[in-house]
Structure formats: structure tokens, C-alpha cells
């Protein structure tokens, strides 16, 4: 048996547990060990699922079939635009934004007017939504007691009021423990994540119970529903509602980031951007899980309570109660309580911050100049205002609940709130991506959209509740049909939400864009626009300091901070700032632009950007920079960034060029060294024959009586050496020409076989003198290559004369073979000389290196023949190399490519 006392005790115990979780979270945060992980962050996003989801979705499914899913598909798609959300988070962290009102006000020049306007819209739009939560809790309590026959609370005590009071107390304890410059409440986030788990578990439990306990599973349920004609239509899609479907996806997609509580959780309470990576799929998965049993529950309720009087919004409770499953019903009640309290806590904290910073503070500050409250420490006042705001907002919610009561279904109220916060979209998106958007435009857009929303949605809902005459809905304002509230200008065929969304966004976007284009931003606005739109580029905040110029005193700013943050927190922040600046004592800090920025940022966290700006301006004499100058500074900053990027790329290019140069220099030095070597070798080579010529000439000169035989022998040697000298000089010149590329080439068709035969013939005498056999294996005709005939002859002569030099007399054998394959001609000159070592095979192609031991044997050549030959062969695209082993003769081979075939 469920007694009211027990249920209330259970509720209080559950709230106590939540509070314990929150205290634990706060304690861990204070100790620097945050429990906010990616999973906790993702779960806390599920504060989106209020009691409207928990109870209302089933009710909506009983009339609209699957259309309730749009409310959850929209957020799924919106969250996938991670870039937008990360941009919001970055901006909020850089600008110390603590609410959506602050965000919009800060973007459009820290405008108090805009901050107040957004706050008013948010409060008007969201208070009914809070009332809805109270109504849900109250309805669930009633259901629990009615069905179980228990007595309701005795006397005049109203259970909903008790719940509202409890929630207010709870929120105050949670949200305003102390003043934090970042407005972050880790304990609260932990409690919300915990509640999300509870409500999901409760909903899944009842879903499984009904689907598998009361019915025979999903397909049984669907089969029985399909059999009932009035239920069958819930199972299929209704194409005539395509427009509504899309509009609701858009609406809920905007709500997931612009509802004050969602902005609070997603943006303000975000500890680490990386957590979004988890939230982007875990939160949608949560939505799928909590929705999968909604339609089965709706059908189950309709089937089970057929023909009875029932309220589909309470099916999740009445179905288990109908089966006597009281403990499950209690679990469901706790789940619903979780959903409601989570929403109310976060929403009221977010709204109270907005009301305090953007409505009360500006008014109070102005009043203070009249002499009110020259208090030393205002931080206590600030907390007091927030607490009062929380109580006020919940009281408003309660009053609305009492007044509206049963007037309008749960779902209707939720969507009206969604449509209200959707009005923030143009100013928000425009502010983040469009620098030209101005304050005047944002104010006009918001006012226009809000007015249309009020006329087409809020007032008609009042009319439905019977508070005002419904003439403007039925006949149109002043009887003008075009002004019918839910068929504006004759636009009909849409449901009221899509109708209102369409017209209000049209007015909002139209006015925002039009007025923005025809108005001029002031200096502060232009600066803020730059910082918001280019947040990813302004990471280093390099321009911030330069956008402020004036005089200030540290003492005045510090006393300002102490007044609003309290002396303790102010000193903490100052010490942290001083440490970041590299000084230990904040008294020694200069009162420069950076310090003013710091003070303003700290104040922004506490009292909102608009009020903070006013306060700082009151103690610091700021010079007005003027729009032109601000734009110049911003341009300059952009240009400096562009230049520095350019400089970076230039310096990279320079480095690459330097590396190239260094390499080239290395190569040059190597060549220089080689040239030196070459010259010293050449001079050495030239000196050898010269020396012998000179010695012999001197002998001839000094000894006129030398006999004729000796004289003739000496002269013979002189002639030989002179010839060698000439040859050497010729070859050096030839080599130099080849290497420098100045050699003259005449390219023509050359029959290589003919060249080989001719060379063999011309050198035949040389071979015969030494008694060396010369054999040829050469085809009759061809092969024909494109080359310089004289040069190839030079190569052949070189190879043959080399061979004859090294083979032994009488037994010597030199073989010449010419053959061709498909691509090249191969010429081999093989001898049976002493052969070459592996090392020599390479060395002999270097200049002035000769076969044999040059130290002991008399050089027999110039040492340039083979290098020249190799140059020639390589010029024609071939190769020259030697294959040899010591004692096994040497085989010199060169190839010349055949000309490409004509075919």
C-alpha cells in the first residue's frame, strides 16, 4: 500500500541522495580531481529529457503516432554539427560568457539592452515549461494515490507547492554555494548525470514490463494494435504532416543548444572540448533508448484501457498500477521526479544567472550611483539576488501552474517554449559567423520574432485557457481576417507550431539581416564581432590589449574586484594572474590594458559582460577609440598575422635554398679538388717526357764528339718522346673539350662492323710486328648506329692498341666481336694478356691511371685513352666496361644503342 507519507519520504530521500552526489562532485572539484568525464558530460546533456519526455511522449504518441520522435531526431542532427558547438564553447571561455543572454549581449557590444531582452524572452518562454514540470510531478502524485486508494495530503497543504519549495531550496544549495567566475557547478552536473541514468532505467523498466509482461512482446503488441482500426493509423507515417515533421526537427535542433539549461550544460559547464566527441554519439544513443518503448507503451495503454476514462500522459504510471506492480510504479515515479527536478534545477540556475546579471544588476548599479549601497563587499548581495531569482522563477512557475492548471496538454507547453528560444537562433548564428550583424539588427530581429511568437502562439494558448477573449484567433484582430493569430495572412494548413515558427523566424531573420545591413556598428561591437567570428584565429588574444587605451589605477580595479567577488576570491584570482605575468606580488602589477582586460573578464563571470563593462568604465578612464581606429587595429592585426605567415613560408624557402647552396658548394669544392689533382697529374705527366727530351738534348749539345750511332739513337728517343708529348697534349685538350661539352660531334649513320674492320686493318701492321694474332667475328653488313664515325674509330683504336700493348708477343691473341640485339650493338675486344684485378677494373677508367705497375714499368700510354673512350661511348648513350680476372685475359666491352625503329 502506498501511503502519501511513504511516497513523500521516498522523494525526500531521493533528493537527499542527489544532494550527496552533488556534494561529492563539488568536493572532488575543489580538490582538483574533477569527476566530470566525457561520459558524465554526455549523460548530463540528457537534462533535455524532462518529464515532458517521461510522461508526455507517450501521450503524444497516442494521438500523433511516431511524430514525437522529431523532438529527439533534431538534437541528434544538431549535435553532429560539432564545429558550431565547439565555436560556442571557445567563445564562451575566451569571453567569460556565463549564459545565453550574456553570449548575445557580449557579441553585440556588451549591450545591456540586448542582455535584458534575451533574459525577458527566456523567462517568458521558459516559465511555462517549468510549470509543466511541476504539473507533471503533481499529476504523477495524484495518479499514484488515486489508483492505490491512498489519502491525499491532509488539509490545505498543496503537494505541488511543497515540491516547488523543495526544488527551490535544493537549487539554491546546488547552484549558489559560492560565486564562481566561470559559473561552473560540477556537483550539479554530476547529480544531473545521475538523474539521467535513473530516469532511463525507470523508463526502460516500465517499457519492458508492459511490452513483455502485459503483452507478448513487441510484435504481439503491434499486431493487436494493427487489428484495431483507430490504432492502426498510429503505426504508419502520415505524409500530410510532412511540413510539421520537418519544422519540429528544426525546432528541437535549435532548442538543444539554445534552451537556457542546454546552453548551461553544453557550453558553460563544459570542462573539456574533447568531451563533445563522446557526447556526439552517446547522448543520441540515450535518446534512442528512452524512446524505443514510447510507442509500445502508448499502444499498450490504449489497448488496456479501451473504453475507459484515462489520461494518456500518465500511462507509464497507470499501466504498472493496473497490474498491481506498486514498486515498479514507485520506480517510475522516481524516474519522473528525476526528469522534472533535473530540468528545474538547471533551468532555474541558468535563468537566475541571467536575471541577476542582466536584469537586476544593471538596475542596481544605476541605482547605486544615486547613493544606494556603497557596500564594501557586494558578492553577498550577488548571491542573495540569485537566490531570490531562483525562488521568484519557481514561484512564477507555480503560479502559472495554478493558473493554467489543466488548461492545456503537456506537449503543447513544451513546444511553445521551444519556439520561444528558437528566436535566439538568428542572433546567435549570425553573431558567430557574420561580422556585419549589428546590435540594432539583433534587437530588431529578436523583438520582431518575439512579437510574432507572442501573437501566434502565447496569446492563443492564453485564449485556449480562457484568460482572454479568443476573438483574435477566430476572427482576427479587429475583425481583420488576415490577422487571424493562427492563420496569419491566410496561411493555413499548418499546425500552430509550424505556423508560428515559420512567421516568427521570417520576421526575425528578415529584420536582423535588413537592419544589420543598414546600420553601423560602434567600436566595441566591431571589436567583439571580430573576436567572435574569428575566435579560432584569435586564440592568442593578441589584439585584445590593443583595443583598450586609457588610464586606470590598480587599487581602484582591485577594490572593484573585491566588491563583487569578495576579498578572498579576488585575491586568489589576482595572485593567479600575477603568477601568469611572472611576478609574485600583484601589488606591483602595472595598470595596463592587459590588467584592465583581466579585471573585466573576472567581473564578466560574476555579473555579466554588459555590467562588467559599465563597472570597469566607472573606475578607469578609457579613451574612446572610435570605430575607424578599432577597424584599423583589427586590420593591422590581420595584416600582421598575414605577414608573419608569409615570413614563415619565406624563411622555410630560404632554409631549403640554403641547403641546396650548401650542397652545390660541396660539389664545387670537390670539383675544385679534382681540378687541382688533375693539373698536378698533368704537369707530372708532361714533365716526364720533357725531362728526358731535355736531358738527351743537353747531352747532344754538350758533347759534339758523340759518335753517330749514339747520336741517332738519342735523336730517335727525342722524337718519340716529343710525339708522346704531342699525343698527350692532344688528348688532354680532347678530354677537356669532352668534359666541358664543347667537343664537336657529327652524327650520322655509322656501320659499326665496317668501323671495326677498318680499324683492324689499319692497326694490322702493329699486330704483325709483335706477332700477335688478331681475329674478327664481324657480320658482313651492319649493324648501323647513329654516331660520330671518327669518334667510334678512336674508341676502337684505343681498345685495340691497349690490347696489343698488354698481350705477350708471338702467343698473343686478340679477338674482336661485333653483334647486335633488339636494342643495342655490342662490341667486344678480348685479349689473353695478364688480366686485371677487380680493383684495377675500376681504376683504369680514371684519368692517368694505367694498367700494370707504373712505378716499375715504363708507362706505355698516356692514361687518357680509356677515360676518353668512355666519355665518347656514354655520349652516344652506351656503356664501356671491362670483364677480367688476373691471369685470364681482359675483355673490353662497349655498347651503342640502336636507333629507334621507324615502325
Amino acid at each position: 500500500m502506498l501511503s502519501p507519507g511513504f511516497v513523500l519520504f521516498l522523494s525526500a530521500a531521493y533528493l537527499g541522495l542527489l544532494f550527496a552526489v552533488a556534494r561529492f562532485g563539488d568536493a572532488r572539484a575543489d580538490a582538483g580531481k574533477s569527476i566530470i568525464s566525457a561520459n558524465v558530460y554526455a549523460l548530463s546533456l540528457a537534462v533535455y529529457c524532462t518529464s515532458w519526455t517521461f510522461y508526455g511522449s507517450v501521450g503524444r504518441a497516442t494521438s500523433g503516432g511516431l511524430s514525437f520522435l522529431t523532438i529527439y531526431i533534431g538534437p541528434t542532427l544538431m549535435l553532429l554539427c560539432v564545429g558550431v558547438i565547439i565555436k560556442m564553447i571557445r567563445i564562451s571561455k575566451a569571453q567569460r560568457v556565463t549564459s545565453i543572454a550574456d553570449f548575445i549581449a557580449s557579441r553585440y557590444g556588451k549591450s545591456q539592452l540586448l542582455a535584458g531582452l534575451v533574459t525577458v524572452i527566456a523567462v517568458i518562454g521558459v516559465v511555462p515549461y517549468i510549470a509543466l514540470q511541476l504539473k507533471a510531478v503533481s499529476a504523477s502524485l495524484q495518479t499514484l494515490f488515486q489508483t492505490s486508494g491512498g489519502e491525499f495530503l491532509p488539509g490545505m497543504i498543496d503537494s505541488t507547492f511543497i515540491i516547488a519549495a523543495l526544488l527551490a531550496l535544493f537549487t539554491i544549495l546546488f547552484g549558489t554555494r559560492h560565486l564562481d567566475a566561470t559559473e561552473r557547478h560540477e556537483g550539479m552536473v554530476a547529480a544531473i548525470a545521475f538523474e539521467s541514468v535513473v530516469k532511463l532505467a525507470a523508463f526502460l523498466a516500465v517499457g519492458v514490463f508492459v511490452t513483455y509482461g502485459m503483452f507478448g512482446g513487441l510484435s504481439d503488441l503491434f499486431q493487436r494494435a494493427a487489428a484495431a482500426p483507430e490504432l492502426a493509423r498510429l503505426l504508419q507515417m502520415d505524409s500530410s504532416r510532412a511540413g510539421t515533421w520537418t519544422a519540429l526537427i528544426l525546432l528541437s535542433g535549435l532548442a538543444i543548444i539554445f534552451l537556457p539549461r542546454q546552453f548551461q550544460i553544453i557550453v558553460v559547464e563544459n570542462v573539456d572540448e574533447a568531451h563533445l566527441k563522446r557526447a556526439v554519439w552517446l547522448f543520441p544513443l540515450y535518446l534512442v533508448a528512452i524512446n524505443i518503448f514510447v510507442l509500445p507503451l502508448a499502444l499498450g495503454g490504449l489497448l488496456h484501457f479501451q473504453g475507459q476514462d484515462f489520461n494518456p500522459d500518465t500511462f507509464v504510471l497507470t499501466l504498472p498500477l493496473a497490474r498491481g506492480a506498486e514498486s515498479l510504479a514507485l520506480l517510475v515515479f522516481i524516474g519522473g521526479l528525476s526528469a522534472a527536478t533535473g530540468m528545474v534545477i538547471v533551468e532555474t540556475i541558468a535563468l537566475s544567472t541571467m536575471v541577476c546579471n542582466d536584469l537586476v544588476m544593471p538596475w542596481l548599479l544605476r541605482a547605486r550611483w544615486l547613493g544606494v549601497g556603497e557596500r564594501k563587499d557586494l558578492s553577498g548581495v550577488l548571491l542573495g539576488i540569485r537566490r531570490a531569482a531562483i525562488i521568484l522563477i519557481l514561484l512564477l512557475g507555480y503560479i502559472y501552474f495554478r493558473a493554467a492548471g489543466e488548461a492545456y496538454a503537456l506537449v503543447g507547453i513544451g513546444l511553445i517554449s521551444f519556439a520561444a528560444v528558437a528566436q535566439f537562433a538568428p542572433a546567435m548564428f549570425g553573431g558567430m559567423y557574420w561580422k556585419q550583424g549589428t546590435r540594432a539588427g539583433a534587437v530588431a530581429g529578436l523583438l520582431g520574432g518575439f512579437a510574432v511568437w507572442t501573437y501566434t502562439l502565447l496569446l492563443p494558448s492564453f485564449a485556449k485557457s480562457g484568460w482572454i477573449a479568443n476573438g483574435f484567433v477566430e476572427q482576427g484582430l479587429w475583425g481583420i481576417h488576415a490577422l487571424k493569430a493562427q492563420a496569419l495572412f491566410g496561411l493555413s494548413g499548418l499546425d500552430e507550431i509550424s505556423h508560428s515558427l515559420w512567421w516568427s523566424l521570417l520576421a526575425n531573420i528578415g529584420l536582423y539581416v535588413l537592419v544589420s545591413l543598414y546600420s553601423k556598428p560602434d567600436a566595441v561591437e566591431a571589436g567583439q564581432a571580430e573576436r567572435f567570428v574569428d575566435i579560432f584565429r584569435h586564440g592568442a588574444r593578441d589584439t585584445d590589449a590593443r583595443l583598450w587605451r586609457g588610464t586606470a589605477s590598480v587599487d581602484e580595479l582591485v577594490s572593484l574586484l573585491e566588491r563583487f567577488l569578495g576579498p578572498f576570491r579576488a585575491r586568489q584570482q589576482l595572485a593567479a594572474y600575477a603568477a601568469a605575468q611572472g611576478t609574485s606580488d600583484w601589488h606591483a602589477l602595472p595598470a595596463d590594458a592587459g590588467f584592465v582586460r583581466f579585471a573585466e573578464a573576472q567581473l564578466s563571470g560574476a555579473i555579466g559582460s554588459a555590467s562588467a563593462r559599465v563597472m570597469v568604465a566607472s573606475v578607469a578612464r578609457e579613451e574612446d577609440l572610435g570605430l575607424e581606429e578599432v577597424l584599423d587595429i583589427l586590420d593591422e592585426a590581420t595584416q600582421v598575422r598575414a605577414y608573419s605567415r608569409e615570413l614563415e613560408s619565406k624563411s622555410r624557402e630560404l632554409e631549403a635554398a640554403t641547403a641546396d647552396l650548401r650542397q652545390a658548394n660541396e660539389r664545387l669544392r670537390e670539383l675544385d679538388r679534382m681540378k687541382d689533382d688533375f693539373i698536378s697529374t698533368v704537369t707530372h705527366e708532361l714533365r716526364t717526357p720533357l725531362t728526358s727530351i731535355r736531358a738527351l738534348s743537353e747531352m747532344l749539345h754538350d758533347d759534339p764528339k758523340m759518335d753517330l750511332v749514339d747520336r741517332k739513337r738519342f735523336l730517335g728517343i727525342i722524337v718519340n718522346e716529343a710525339e708522346r708529348l704531342t699525343r698527350l697534349i692532344n688528348q688532354i685538350l680532347d678530354m677537356a673539350k669532352l668534359e666541358s661539352g664543347r667537343a664537336e660531334w657529327t652524327t650520322a649513320e655509322v656501320d659499326l662492323g665496317e668501323v671495326a674492320r677498318e680499324t683492324m686493318e689499319s692497326l694490322g701492321q702493329l699486330f704483325r710486328e709483335k706477332g700477335v694474332t688478331l681475329e674478327g667475328e664481324i657480320p658482313e653488313k651492319g649493324p648501323v648506329v647513329l654516331a660520330d664515325r671518327d669518334r667510334l674509330t678512336q674508341v676502337m683504336i684505343n681498345l685495340l692498341s691497349n690490347a696489343v700493348k698488354f698481350v705477350p708477343g708471338e702467343t698473343g691473341l686478340v679477338q674482336v666481336r661485333v653483334m647486335a640485339n633488339a636494342s643495342e650493338v655490342r662490341v667486344e675486344v678480348a685479349d689473353n694478356g695478364p688480366g686485371l684485378t677487380v680493383e684495377e677494373c675500376n681504376v683504369i677508367f680514371e684519368k692517368f691511371r694505367q694498367g700494370g705497375n707504373t712505378m716499375t714499368n715504363k708507362p706505355q700510354g698516356t692514361g687518357l685513352g680509356l677515360p676518353i673512350s668512355r666519355q665518347i661511348v656514354e655520349y652516344f648513350g652506351g656503356n664501356l666496361w671491362v670483364e677480367s680476372r688476373p691471369g685470364a685475359g681482359a675483355k673490353f666491352i662497349f655498347t651503342v644503342p640502336l636507333p629507334a625503329s621507324e615502325e
Partner: protein
């Protein structure tokens, strides 16, 4: 200039893909029932879960 984050772009592309998949006129395609479950119910939840799984794969993949 910083290059745009590829993960964010992939996720945004998934979001854009989701819009036509989860709205009309494609939604009017599934009709009747499969294995006793209404086809629209299967299609909506199936497509939705598919998008989420793809998003999870993209988001949780270790960046190189």
C-alpha cells in the same frame, strides 16, 4: 591558415546526410510491416541508430 578539422567535417557531413534520410519524402517509403513490426518504426529507429553508430566510429577513432 589552420586546416579545417576533418573529424568535425565528417560529423557535419553525417548530420547533413541525416536530414533527408529522416524527413519526408523518404519517410513515406517504408509501409506495411516486417516480421510483425511496422516498417516505419523499424526504418526510423534503424536509420537513427545507423547514424549514431557511424558518428561513434568517426568520433572515437584515434586521430593519427
Amino acid at each position: 591558415m589552420k586546416r579545417a578539422n576533418p573529424m568535425r567535417q565528417r560529423l557535419a557531413a553525417l548530420g547533413l546526410l541525416g536530414v533527408p534520410l529522416l524527413t519526408y519524402p523518404l519517410l513515406s517509403l517504408p509501409q506495411g510491416e516486417i516480421a510483425g513490426i511496422p516498417a516505419p518504426y523499424l526504418y526510423l529507429f534503424g536509420m537513427w541508430i545507423l547514424l549514431i553508430v557511424l558518428a561513434a566510429v568517426v568520433a572515437e577513432r584515434r586521430g593519427k
